[in-house]
Amino acid sequence: MAPNSHGFELELAAEADNVPLVRHALRGLLEASGISDERTADIALAVTEACANAVLHAYHDDTGTFEVAAELAPGGRLFVIVRDYGSGMAPRVDSPGLGVGLPVIAAIAEALEIDSPDGSGTLVRMIFDLRADAS
């Protein structure tokens, strides 16, 4: 759980109040690496949306946990994984959300990957380009 200069890992209860903690860790990592504030804000948005999905959709009425791992990679990239052990991707026509979470992540990240390992929740992998002018 201790951040270091290359990345961090967090394991958190799937509760809304824990999502700001993830942004805090992420900012710590990116600021130490000299990434622009703008790019940091973009990445914080995408990672927040992924965490929000784990909190809002993975566990229905149950409680559970989610994990976030971030790693700075050579070549100016950041890898982030958000994983839950909930229901797996469950499309809902009555989502309380705005429905823009996944497309927002896809628009900000260079690549978004969603795995649904059988019977063990959802794993969301994001790759971010850290150059300030990356879209």
């Binding site: 109040d17 927040t48 929000a52 979470g101």
Partner: protein, 130 residues
């Protein structure tokens, strides 16, 4: 639900100011996401029921996620339905994280924005489409 992230960044607050006659100004400071969206929703509901016009001040907001955007869009829709003046102040001091989400989702117009708090208050008190 308390604004749980206050300890982290110091100033994530939602404050309703009633200093100007005929308008409730909901001042959103710092970063806000699903952890504070329900509180914002409650405050906006109260403001919309007050009978006054409503201004949401995002001049000192550094970050919002789509939960917060949903609450803002729905407040604007409710204001329009009930003929209540509504504006969102979104200016130079507003954080990049806020602008980025509005850009990506193309929702700036949907929120009825004005570039300063004064312009937002003036717009809101001129009626829903003023």
């Amino acid at each position: 639900m308390t604004p749980g992230s206050t300890i982290l960044t110091g100033v994530n607050t939602i404050v309703v100011e009633r200093t100007e006659p005929g308008v409730e100004v909901v001042v959103v400071t710092g970063e806000h996401d699903l952890s504070t969206a329900p509180e914002l929703e409650r405050q906006l509901k109260g403001a919309l029921e007050s009978g006054a016009a409503v201004c949401v001040d995002l001049m000192e907001t550094t970050f919002i996620d789509s939960s917060v955007l949903r609450v803002l869009i729905s407040a604007r829709e409710q204001a329009d339905e009930r003929g209540i003046g509504f504006r969102v102040a979104l200016g130079d001091t507003t954080g990049h994280g806020v602008r980025r989400l509005l850009e990506l989702t193309d929702t700036e117009r949907r929120l009825a924005t004005a570039p300063t708090r004064a312009a937002a208050i003036a717009g809101a008190t001129n009626g829903p489409r003023g």
